[in-house]
């Protein structure tokens, strides 16, 4: 369904991505992992249509993918994915309203009743039926992401893009969300791309794992080479030693989150 042919992405003379050649079939669940700033989010933005490759082609059904967001591709961001001025129910119903042609984006009459039924159904599925009259700021982080997913699903996308959707959640809630996403993926037969920086999450979820990393380094010009997909692994056929090897590659330092590690050493 999706094919990338020798994609490069540059910002001025900084290369972010290079030599991306992949193809993805309908119904696959791809997780994208890599260190921060390695271009995995950039690749997701290309799939979404808000960034385009500097060179190379990104094809959806053998056609160049549209360079603006549309209803083929649903998205859940880490933050700001729902509309703060609408209740939970209104947020989901808005998905129906936006799917119709029209000027105002408001629904009336029969269309409104239909949208309400569909919205209640999907809110039931994601476990939010007890909170339909609440506003997003009254929800917990996990509930807000459930809402964002419900909203995206009602838009009936073929491809669901998840940009570190559970990055801000507690581990316990994260496990629930994993289960939810897997269930919905099977039910709706979606093609899912999920960016995460949690390698374990990448291994646990999905059918396919991509690791983004730089293979070429120029110490004099760190931005001369970009990252590419260094591993493209089918899930379920990997042994632990490979997991540790990738884990070490992504996080070569034992102590993460040490601020001093990120400060430049020389000027």
């Amino acid at each position: 369904m999706i094919t990338a042919k020798n994609i490069w992405k540059r910002y001025n003379d900084q290369v972010v991505l290079e030599r991306i050649n992949i193809s993805v079939n309908e119904g696959e669940f791809v997780t994208l992992v890599g260190a921060s700033g390695c271009g995995k989010s950039t690749f997701l933005k290309m799939l979404l249509g808000i960034e385009s490759p500097s060179t190379g082609d990104l094809l959806l059904d053998n056609q160049p993918i549209r360079t603006e967001p549309d209803s083929d591709r649903g998205i859940v961001f880490q933050h700001y994915s729902v509309f703060p001025h609408m209740t939970v129910l209104e947020n989901v119903m808005a998905a129906r309203a936006f799917a119709r042609k029209g000027f105002s984006g408001y629904l009336f009459g029969q269309a409104k009743r239909d949208a309400r039924t569909a919205a209640l159904e999907i809110l039931e599925q994601v476990g939010l039926s007890h909170a339909i009259t609440r506003y997003p700021h009254e929800l917990s982080g996990g509930m807000r992401q459930r809402l964002a997913i419900a909203q995206a699903l009602l838009g009936k996308p073929r491809i669901l893009l998840l940009d570190e959707p559970f990055g801000a959640l507690d581990p316990g809630i994260r496990a629930d969300m994993h289960q939810l996403v897997l269930d919905l993926w099977r039910t709706y037969k979606l093609t899912v791309f999920m960016v995460t920086h949690d390698l374990k999450e990448g291994f646990y979820l999905g059918t396919r794992l991509w690791v983004f990393d730089k293979v070429r380094h120029d110490p004099q010009a760190p931005s001369a080479y970009g990252a590419t997909i260094t591993y493209d692994l089918p899930i379920g056929k990997i042994d632990t030693s490979l997991y540790e090897q990738i884990d070490n590659q992504l996080r070569p330092v034992i102590i993460p989150d040490e601020p001093s590690m990120e400060t430049p050493t020389h000027d």
Binding site: P69, S71, H79, F83, A94, A95, G105, Y135
Partner: protein, 272 residues
């Protein structure tokens, strides 16, 4: 002993502390007024509260001998009409311009420089032009308020529009929304509380333009009255009028704040 930095007054003592300076001002005024009136009972500069009360009841509670009108209320009504009409026009036009220039990069590129230039013109300098173009009637006063405040509101709303996270616009588009739907369903409702805030902030300027316009050419209005009686040094009329204008400004501000809370319960700080 706690650091003074950490000492917080209770609700009641905060209220007392807040009233204290006001009370002191009133007492100082009364003493100064008494002293002057004792020296010269015909002194007009610092009238006593009873003199002000008499003047006020003459304006507000007794019909005018010549016209039969209650001048105080006629003045209030005319001024409020002008102010509210001007603010309404400024808010509507400002919202429209701000929304379009903030949300659509094409509109922003085209009109932002023009709005910036227009907002730099001192509105009072335009007053003579307005009098020439629109005459000395109501229109020129309303126009001054509208012209003076629209650029401020437009720029504020433009900035607020751009502050709305891009993620929301992308999300709406992935659900199939077209440009009009994003503007009307996603951006506009979120801008309404911001608009009320902008109107509250610009009410002060609104009063300024109103009183200036009324002072120069009018036949009624709060600003007209205080500039008229200035000729007779009628401080006993001017001071109640100033207090009344302040009171009106306070009420308008509070009404807008209340509206914002009631109409937009989702608009809380830090919510997203």
């Amino acid at each position: 002993m706690k650091r003074i930095l950490n000492i917080k007054p209770s609700r009641f003592s905060a209220l007392c502390l807040g009233l204290l300076p006001l009370l002191i001002c009133v007492v100082i005024y009364m003493i100064a007024s008494d002293l002057r009136l004792e020296a010269n009972p015909n002194d007009k500069l610092l009238p006593s509260f009873s003199q002000m009360g008499e003047a006020w009841s003459r304006m507000a509670l007794t019909p005018n001998v010549r016209t039969g009108e209650y001048i105080f209320w006629v003045d209030t009504w005319s001024s409020l009409q002008r102010l509210l009409l001007g603010m309404l026009i400024a808010a509507s036009v400002g919202l429209l311009i701000g929304l379009l220039t903030g949300a659509l990069p094409l509109m922003g590129a085209t009109f932002s420089p023009l709005i910036t230039v227009l907002s730099l013109i001192p509105p009072l300098a335009l007053l003579p032009i307005l009098f020439i173009v629109f005459g000395l009637g109501e229109l020129s006063k309303v126009a001054l308020i509208a012209i003076g405040i629209t650029p401020f509101i437009a720029r504020d709303i433009q900035r607020r529009t751009q502050e709305i996270p891009i993620e929301q616009l992308i999300k709406a588009q992935t659900l199939g929304a077209n440009t009009a739907q994003v503007l009307i369903r996603v951006l506009l409702p979120q801008l309404m509380p911001k608009l009320l805030d902008a109107v509250r902030l610009s009410l002060g300027a609104g009063w300024l333009f109103l009183i200036a316009a009324e002072a120069i050419a009018s036949t009624d209005g709060l600003g007209y009255r205080i500039f008229l009686v200035r000729r007779y040094m009628s401080m006993d009329v001017i001071l109640p009028y100033v207090a009344w204008i302040t009171c009106l400004a306070f009420i308008l501000d509070q009404v807008l704040a209340l509206l914002s809370r009631k109409l937009f319960p989702w608009h809380v700080k830090g919510g997203h």
